[in-house]
């Protein structure tokens, strides 16, 4: 009987294969007395040695197949195996209490496990799992029990497990293991991250898979949507085989584009960047072939804590992103907070209209000390890459001039302090307020670049709160009013030899891309996972041809008319 379960989609792709339950055998330890303690210690040492050589092999394999960083965790496991504070007391226990090695090991390890689990720090709590993983390995050798290892699998299967340890996951051989499903875990758990690195589809946190799936059951794993289908009928199998083939074709096509520039059929190059929120997101940008970071939202540094981040903390975050990008353009947006985005440690008066209130650059100019700290951190980090600073919510030229003056002021101060600052930092603005779009020709003389924030530009142009469902019909990205504003901004920048990017959702939209290309947009910034798809689409379009449609589109009456026209003709 066909049955469907669902969980968290942790790694993309689709797999159809038989289930293989990866079960942890019960390692029952009983206390017993030994007569020859020396011999028991030797038995314990042999189990340690065997475990050590296994872990060394896993570590080496991980370094080769995945990365040194992933391999480091097994370096830590090896240190646990040779830890004098673990090994010493175990041997002592065997000798003084004449107990069996299994019992001495379990008792001693449990003491450490309990100690780590009792710590009020999630990171330290997770270290208990590392000790458990290592202890289990030694214990299985002592007991002569074979732990099922994913590396033993030699037919195509989908692994079903309660959870996968890091050592389980790195042993998955992608030529046999087509996917895995676990009862527990989340998108950021270690096994989920590794699944994405190994490009094996995975659904985690599916809760009842161990209870409902038996060995040999035919299973479909849809890592795109997080669905699991048991005992599918032939129709469903055919449907998913088609979906899988389509996904594989697309992926192969996109993968070829990873290190390619983004060029139209008529040889016009544009830049595809990504929007990020934290330094951790940078890896995803590079993995997806991003040519730039078009928007680094710095407010996440300020959120979820009880005081402002220090200059050094900010410097670390900005430098790590700039270093990882290795000279690729990195647009950092200064703090966009206030209004609806609150900070617990910053008591701002309640506003009737937060979206129209004291937020973003307005707040930063009101609180120059806070703003200067961020600017200093950015300027210090600038020597590590290709930094571009962008101010959010600029409504008047005066605001831009004030903000830029603060940058210049901090730069001069740093230089007198003998601290290096890059000489080639571009300073630009977000265009999200209609007044700025209308005045783009004036702004273009003073800013180095524009980046159009479409979500806010639409909300302010249409006077429609984007959180209010009752007026959501007014969220019309293709309304000619919006497109005309976008055109004004792009044209104004080009007349002054400057460039325009777009960092709203619209930049990665299939229907918007042909229009934006025709309008001459220079940089498109989107979520990292959309980059290769957009590159593939742009590679099939001619910029000159897209441009011929623009006059007609701008003269249309409605958003729907534009969308229909693009689908049919561009």
């Amino acid at each position: 009987m066909k049955k469907t379960l669902s969980g968290i989609a942790a790694s993309n792709g689709i797999a159809i294969a038989k289930a293989f339950r990866l079960e942890n055998p019960e390692l029952n330890v009983e206390k017993s007395t030994v007569t020859d303690a020396a011999q028991e210690v030797a038995r314990f040492e042999a189990a340690l040695n065997q475990s050590t050589s296994e872990l060394e092999a896993i570590k080496e394999r991980t370094a080769k197949q995945i990365s040194d960083k992933e391999a480091a965790i097994f370096g830590a496991h090896l240190l646990v195996l040779s830890d004098p504070e673990l090994v010493g007391p175990i041997k002592e226990k065997i000798e003084t209490e004449q107990t069996n090695a299994e019992y001495a090991l379990q008792e001693t390890a449990n003491m450490f496990i309990q100690m780590f689990e009792a710590m009020d720090n999630d990171y330290m709590k997770e270290r208990a799992a590392d000790i458990r993983d290592v202890t289990k390995r030694v214990l299985s050798h002592l007991l002569g029990v074979t732990i099922q290892s994913p590396s033993m699998i030699s037919e195509e299967v989908i692994i079903i497990a309660e959870d996968l340890t890091p050592s389980d996951t790195v042993q998955l051989d992608p030529s046999f293991v087509k996917a895995f499903i676990t009862d527990i875990g989340g998108r950021t758990s270690h096994s989920a991250i590794l699944a994405r690195t190994l490009e094996i589809p995975a659904v985690v946190g599916a809760k009842e898979v161990m209870a409902s799936i038996e060995n040999g059951t035919l299973v479909i794993v849809d890592g795109l949507d997080g669905h699991i289908i048991l005992d599918p009928d032939s129709e469903t199998v055919a449907e998913y085989e088609e979906k899988k083939a389509q996904y594989d074709r697309q992926k192969a096509e996109w993968a070829k584009l990873k290190n390619e520039p983004t060029v139209t059929t008529d040889g016009h190059a544009v830049e595809l960047g990504a929007n990020i929120g934290t330094p951790k997101d940078t890896a995803g940008v590079l993995e997806n072939g991003g040519e730039a970071i078009g928007l680094y939202r710095t407010e996440f540094l300020y959120m979820g804590r009880d005081q402002f981040p220090t200059e050094d903390e900010q410097y670390e975050a900005y430098s790590s992103v700039l270093k990882a990008m290795e000279g690729k353009p990195t647009v950092v947006r200064t703090l966009d907070i206030g209004g609806d985005k609150e900070l617990s440690y910053l008591q701002l008066p309640k506003e009737l209209n937060p979206f129209l209130g004291l937020r973003a650059i307005r707040l930063c100019l009101e609180m120059p000390d806070m703003f200067r700290t961020q600017l200093r951190a950015l300027l210090r980090a600038s020597v590590h890459g290709n930094l571009k600073i962008m101010f959010p919510m600029i409504a008047t030229l005066d605001e831009f001039r004030q903000a830029k003056a603060l940058v210049e002021d901090e730069k001069a101060k740093l230089q007198t302090e003998g601290i290096d600052v890059s000489d080639s930092i571009e300073i630009g603005i977000m265009v999200e307020i209609p007044s700025t779009a209308v005045m783009a020709d004036t702004f273009a003389k003073e800013v180095d670049f524009f980046s159009i924030g479409t979500n806010d530009l639409i909300q302010y142009t249409m006077a429609a709160d984007r959180m209010n469902e009752n007026v959501s019909y007014l969220y019309q990205p293709f309304n000619p009013a919006i497109l005309r504003l976008v055109k004004m901004v792009i044209d104004a920048s080009h007349r002054e030899g400057k460039w325009t990017g777009m960092c709203g959702e619209m930049a990665g939209d299939e229907i918007a891309i042909p229009i934006l290309l025709g309008l001459g947009l220079d940089e498109f910034s989107m979520s990292a996972s959309s980059i290769l798809k957009a590159r593939s689409q742009i590679g099939k379009l001619s910029k000159a041809e897209m441009a011929t449609h623009i006059d007609r589109i701008l003269a249309m009456d409605t958003s729907a008319e534009v969308a229909d026209y693009v689908k049919a003709n561009m």
Binding site: A72, I73, G75, A76, L79, V80, S82, D83, P84, E85, L86, F112, M115, F116, M119, N121, Y123, M124, R127, D130, I131, E313, E316
Partner: protein
């Protein structure tokens, strides 16, 4: 016996990766090497001991080495603390 104080500047405190590097680099020394934090002293050659202290960013720790190669051992600790970004 020689000893030295370090202020931990790494944002995450003494976490697994730098702790492994530190502990791993000390097994070759004959001296006893200890790490003391808030009155608790552990063996610096023990990864579990070091991790169990849960040393947070901004804390001050004291490292002491005692034995025939104590000077070299302490120099090694200073070097790894700096190269792993644990302390300046």
């Amino acid at each position: 016996m020689v000893e030295k104080q370090f202020t931990i500047t790494d944002e995450a405190g003494i976490h697994a990766r730098p702790a492994s590097a530190l502990v791993g680099s000390l097994s070759k020394f004959k001296s006893d090497i200890t790490l003391e934090h808030k009155g608790k002293k552990v063996n610096l050659k023990s990864i579990l001991g070091v991790m169990s202290l849960g040393v947070a960013s901004g804390s001050t720790v004291t490292v002491a080495a005692n034995g025939e190669d104590e000077e070299e051992a302490l120099a090694q600790v200073s070097q790894v603390m700096a190269s792993e970004g644990l302390s300046n």
